[in-house]
Symmetry: D2
Subunit: 377 residues, 4 copies
C-alpha cells in the first residue's frame, strides 16, 4: 500500500494506517504524505519506510512505483487527503493501474464524481470508499436480518448523526480539522451534510437495501461566521413507500460521534448505535425484545466474517475500518492468484456509493435552499 496524504498532524491518515496494519495482510511500502516534500519525508521516517519510497508528491509516487517490478511495487493507493484532493490522485492512480482506497466523500463536486466513476468503471480496478460504519459486524447482521425479511416490509427509518465538536467557531482557532472541513474551497458545497450526513445516507441505504427517492431538508448554519452548514434535518421517502428522517449535526453540544439508526418493519424494529457497536437491539411487536450481541448465538455468515475475537471482547471503530481494508486485500489477493473471492469480501463501498453520496449532498443542499417541499434524488 502507498499512502497519499496523512502526514504529521493529520487525523484520518493514522486511522487508515492502523486499519490497514491490524490483520497483518497489508504493508505500507511507500507514501506521499504531504504536499510539502520535507514534511512527507519526516512522516515517512515515522513509519520506518525505505527513504527511496518516500515521495514528494503523489504524481512522483505513482510514476516511480509504476517503474518497479510487480512484486515490488505497491498494490494499491490509499487516499486520505481533504475532499478537494481526492479526485486527481485517484484518477491518476487508476489510470496507472493501481487499485484505490479513498476516504469519503468521494470528491469535491459532481463533475469529478461522474468522471471518476467513468474512469473506475472502464478500468475494472478496485475502488473502495471508506464509509467505514458499514464495516461493523452488527451492521452486517442488521442488513442480513432485513434482507431475510425478518422485520417484514420496512415502513419507517430514523438515522441520526449528532456531533458537538463544532459547537463553537473552532475554525477561528488553528484546529486543522475544523479549518478544512468548514472551508468551501476544500470541503465542497456542504459542511456537516458532506462530512457526516453522507455516512448516515450510506448507512441507511446499506442496511435497509432501500433507495431514498425524495427528500425535504432544513439545512442551517447555527454558529455565527461559519461558511458551511453545521446542522441539517431531512425528511426522507424511500422507493418502497417507507418514510424516514435523517439528521446530521455538528453543533449538538456534548455529543461525541453518536451515529444511530432505527429501522421499523411490519413485525419489529431494530436499533444500532455506533457508540455501542457490538449490540443490535431488536424489538418485536409481540414477543420480548432481543439484545443481539456480536458473537452470541447463530448469526449471519457476513457478521461472523467481520469479527476477530469472541463475544464480550469489544471490537470498535478501528476494527470496523480494518474490515474494509481486509476485504480489499482479499479481493486484490484473489486477483493476483486468479481465483474467485467469496462475495462476503466484496462487500465494501465502491465508487457507485460515492457518486450516490455526492448526489445526496447536492440534493440536500438544494432542498435546504428551496421553497419546494420535495426534491427528487
Amino acid at each position: 500500500m502507498g499512502m497519499i496524504g496523512g502526514g504529521r498532524g493529520a487525523f484520518i491518515g493514522g486511522v487508515h494506517r492502523m486499519a490497514a496494519a491490524l490483520d497483518g495482510q497489508i504493508e505500507l511500502v511507500c507514501g506521499a504524505f504531504s504536499s510539502n516534500p520535507e514534511k512527507s519525508k519526516l512522516s515517512g521516517q515515522d513509519f520506518y519506510l525505505d527513504p527511496s519510497r518516500i515521495y514528494g508528491s503523489y504524481e512522483e509516487m505513482i510514476l516511480a512505483e509504476k517503474e518497479l517490478s510487480e512484486d515490488q511495487r505497491m498494490d494499491f493507493v490509499s487516499i486520505v487527503t481533504p475532499n478537494h484532493m481526492h479526485y486527481a490522485p485517484a484518477k491518476m492512480a487508476i489510470e496507472h493501474g493501481f487499485h484505490v482506497v479513498c476516504d469519503k466523500p468521494l470528491c469535491y463536486d459532481m463533475e469529478q464524481a461522474y468522471d471518476l466513476q467513468k474512469v473506475v468503471q472502464e478500468s475494472g480496478l478496485i475502488f473502495a470508499l471508506t464509509h467505514n460504519y458499514t464495516g461493523y459486524p452488527m451492521v452486517k447482521e442488521a442488513k442480513a436480518m432485513i434482507s431475510d425479511g425478518k422485520l417484514g416490509k420496512i415502513r419507517k427509518v430514523v438515522v441520526e448523526y449528532p456531533q458537538g465538536w463544532l459547537s463553537t467557531f473552532l475554525e477561528g482557532s488553528d484546529q486543522k480539522q475544523a479549518a478544512w472541513r468548514t472551508d468551501p474551497k476544500r470541503s465542497g458545497i456542504a459542511g456537516a451534510m458532506g462530512d457526516i450526513g453522507t455516512h448516515a445516507e450510506n448507512l441507511v441505504e446499506y442496511i435497509t437495501g432501500l433507495k431514498i427517492t425524495e427528500l425535504c431538508a432544513d439545512i442551517s448554519t447555527l454558529v455565527e461566521g461559519r461558511a458551511l452548514d453545521d446542522d441539517g434535518n431531512v425528511l426522507l421517502r424511500f422507493d418502497n413507500g417507507a418514510r424516514g428522517i435523517l439528521y446530521a449535526s455538528q453543533i449538538s453540544a456534548g455529543e461525541e460521534n453518536n451515529l444511530k439508526i432505527r429501522v421499523y418493519g411490519e413485525y419489529g424494529g431494530l436499533e444500532w448505535l455506533q457508540m455501542k457497536p457490538n449490540t443490535l437491539m431488536v424489538r418485536w411487536a409481540d414477543k420480548p425484545a432481543q439484545m443481539m450481541r456480536a458473537g452470541v448465538g447463530e448469526q449471519a455468515a457476513s457478521t461472523q466474517a467481520h469479527m476477530r475475537i469472541p463475544a464480550g471482547h469489544p471490537e470498535g471503530y478501528l476494527e470496523a475500518f480494518a474490515n474494509i481494508y481486509r476485504n480489499v486485500a482479499k479481493c486484490i489477493q484473489a486477483r493476483i492468484e486468479g481465483i474467485e473471492v467469496d462475495p462476503i469480501y466484496t462487500d465494501f463501498p465502491t465508487v457507485e456509493d460515492g457518486v450516490r453520496g455526492m448526489n445526496f449532498i447536492y440534493k440536500v443542499i438544494e432542498s435546504g435552499k428551496s421553497d419546494q417541499k420535495w426534491i427528487t434524488l
Copy 2:
C-alpha cells in the same frame, strides 16, 4: 371529584382515578361513568360510591351535584371520555361553577377549542389538561436548567414519540382503544398526531420555553385501511431561531411508549426518556457528562416538589400523572381557604395549552397535505 367517563373497560379513566387517589388529597365522590346508565351504575359500585351519586349522564351529575351543599358536592369534574366527548361536559361543568380536569387533546375541533377557551377564561375557574408527561420531576429539572440559562441559547431540539401498538389493523378487532382512536368521528382530524404528537409538542414547548413558529410535515397512514394518520415526521423552527425535529408514530413495531426529548444549547445538551424518567442526562461540550438522577444532589425546588420518595426508589407514570392532580388539589384548596398558592403548584397544563395543541394538530395535518414547504403555526 366527580368523574365523567372511565367506566368498566376503559383505560385512561383508571389512570386518572389512581393519580387522583395517590396522595390522599382527593376523594372520588360521584361519577357518570358511561353513556349507558346501567354500566355507569356498575362502575360506580366498583368504586364503592354512594349509589345516589352514581349518575346516568354527565348532565344529570352536574345538575344534581350543583344542588348539594358546598361542603358535600364535588369540587371538580374529571373528564376521561374520548376526544369528541370532552367539549360538552367541560363547558357545562364550567358554566355550573365546577373546576375541570380534562384528558388531552382538548377537544374535537378548533371551533370547540376556541369556545372552550373563552368559557374557561370568562369563568376564572381552574381548567387542567392532563399532558401528564410535564408532571415528571426530571422534566421540571430540565425546564429549570434551560430557563436558568445553563445550556446557553437553545439551537436544536429533537422530540420523538414512537409507539408500535397500531402496527397491525387493530381497529379491525374489538380492541376498544384502537377503535375510537383511529375513528375520525371520535378522535378528530388526526390519529397519531392528535393522540401522541400533541404530547410531544406540549413537552418540547414546556421544557424549552420556546414556541414553534413554522413546521413542515410528512404525515402518513402506513397500515392499510386505517382512516387516520399513524406516523408523522415534522421539521420545526422555533421563535428564537432554533431548529428541530418532532416525530410521532404508532406503527414503530416493538416500541412501547418511547417519548424522548433532546435539547442542545451552546454549552451542552440534555436528554430525557419517559421510559427512564428518573434520569436526566446532561452532556457538556467540554466536561464530563452528568447523569442527573431525581433526588441526587441539589435540584430545582420544582423538581423536589414533584417527588414523593428518596432517590433510587423509582417513581413512574402514575406519580407524574398524580402531580397534576395534586397541584390542582392544592390550587382548589387554596381558593377554598382564600390563600395564595405557591407558583410551583400552579404549574400544570391549562386550556391555553390545549388550544395550542389543537392548533398544532390542525397545522401539522394541513402541512402533511400541502406542497408548500413551511406552514406558520
Copy 3:
C-alpha cells in the same frame, strides 16, 4: 385500615399510605401516628380523619376500634414504627382480631419473632410483611421463569444492595432516619444487614425458590463512631448446592438504592435491577439475550396481575408496594365475603418470611464475629 406510627416527619408511613390508597380499595380510617398524642392528632388531621378516630396510643386505638361495629371498625392495622415498636402492637392487634400489615424486619429480636409467629399462626389472621421488592411485576416474572424450569437447575446467585446514604456519620446530625436505624436500642443487633440485607435475603429466596443453608460473612462498620454494621459481604450456599454472594452496604458512596439480583442456571441467567424495575434481562447460553419488559409479549399470570398500566408507562416503587396492600385487601375482602381468593393474591410475605429474615440477621451477625468459616442457617 388503621395506622400505627407514620406521623409527621416519618418516611415509611407516607409510603404505606400512598401504597394503600393507590387502588381505591383501602381507606385510612384511624390511626395512632405517634407516641406523642398531640403529634398523632396533628398527623391525623393531615389525613382528613374523623377526630374521634385519631388515637393517642396504639393500645387505645385497638381497644376503641374493637368496640365499633364490624362494618365501622378498621379491618386491619398497618404498623410503620421503628423495629423495636413492631412486636407489641402487632401482637395486641392480632389478639384483638385485627389483621396486620407490618414493616420489615419483623421485630427487634428472635424471641419476639418466634412469639409473634406463634400468635399469628394460632389466630389464623392475615399477617403481611412489607418486603415490598417482591411486589414488582418483573420479580414475579423472574420467579415464574425459574419455577417453570426455563433456566434449568440454578447454580449461582448474586444479590447485592448498595446504598450510600450512610457514608458519613449522619446519625450525628438530627436526621431522624439515620438516628434510629443506627441505634441498637431501636434497630436491633444489625444496621445495614437488618435494614436492607434482609430485603436481599428475602428477594433471593423468593425468586429462586431456594433456601440458604450456610453462610460466611464479613460484617463491618466502616464509618467511625457508628454503633452498628454499615457494610456486609456474605458467601452463600443453597439447599440445591448452588453457590452465591449477598452483599448489603450503606457506605457505598454515590449509590442510591441499587438492589440487584442475578441468577444463573444451566441454560441461561437473569438479571433484575430495582432501579430499572420494568426490565428483566435474560441471557441465554446459546441464543440472543432477551430484554423482557413488563407487559411486552406473553408473560406469567402473576406478572400481569401485578401491573396496572400498559407497557412503556413505567410503574415504580409505590406500585410494587401497593401490590402488597392490594393483595392483602383482596384476601380480607374474600374472607368477609366467604369466598376463595385466587392464589395470585395470597402471594405476599408473611410472618414466616419475617422469622426467616430475623434468623438471617442473627446468623449473619454471628458469622461476622466468628472465626468459623461456615454458619448453618
Copy 4:
C-alpha cells in the same frame, strides 16, 4: 518480535499479533508457532515470514536468532502458549538476552514463578505480562482518580468476572480452548480462578493501589466431571482496611466476558465495565453522577496517552491489548537509543505482578479447601 505458540487453531496468538501490529511499531519477524514443526511452518507462511525464520521449536528459534546481527534479530519474544509452556521458553529467552512479553498467568506453579522472577530481576531485561485489561484508557483514568484522592479513602471494592462459556462440559468436545484450560496438567492448580480470577485480582490492585491482605474463598466445580474449579466467590480484605468481594465464574450461563469493577471511597464511587470500556461512571455522595467518556473533558495524561482516536469512536479489547505492546516497544526503543522513557510507557504488568497473581491463585485455592475463615495473602 518472535512468537512462541499461536499457530493455526490457537486463540490468543492472533490477539497478540493484532495487538503488536496495530501501531506499526512492531514487526513479526520470526516464530516457533507450534511444537509440531510442520504446523509451525504452515502458520509462519500465513504471516508472510521469511521461511528461514520459521522455527520448529522455541529452543531452535532463540539460538538461531541469537546468531543474527543485532539489527537483524528479533528484539523480544512473545509467549502465547498454554500455562505449562510459559516458564521454559521465557527463562531461555531471558537467559539469551531477549526481552519477553508473556501471556498470563505467569506460569504453571509457584516454584516456576519465583525462579522466573529471580531470572528476570537478575537480567535487567523487560518482562511484560499481558494482563491486558489494565491497558484500557478508562482504567488508567480510574487509577489516576483514586491515586489523586478524588474518592477519598477507599472503603469497599467489588470486582467480578462472570463468563458463561463453560456452562456445559465443553472439554468433552474437541474445543481446544476448553480442553487445556480445564486440564490440571496444562493449566495448573486452578481453572476459572487462574484463567480470569487473576485478571480480576490484577485489575483491583492496579486501579486501587491497594494490596489484598486476607481472603476467604468458596471455590466450586459446578459442572459435573470437570477437573478444575469453574466458579469462585471470595471475600477480600485490603491493607488499608477496605473490604471487598471478588468473584470469577465460567458457568454464569449467558455472560460473555463481563469483567466489572466498582470502587467506593468516602466521597463517591466509580464503576467500570470491560464490555463498555470507554465509559467510567463516577457517582458522588452529594452531587450528580458523572458519566466520564474517554476523550471528553480534561483527563489524566496516562488516559490520553492510551487512546488513539477521538471521543465517540469506540476503542476496544485489541486497542487495550495493543497498549501493552506499544509501551513495551517504547521501552525497548528507548533502551536501544539509550534514552529515558516517559513513566507513562513503563506502566505495564511485570513479572512481579505475575508472581503476585500466582500467589493469589494458590491462596484462593487453599482457602477453598480450608475450614479456616481467613487466609493471609
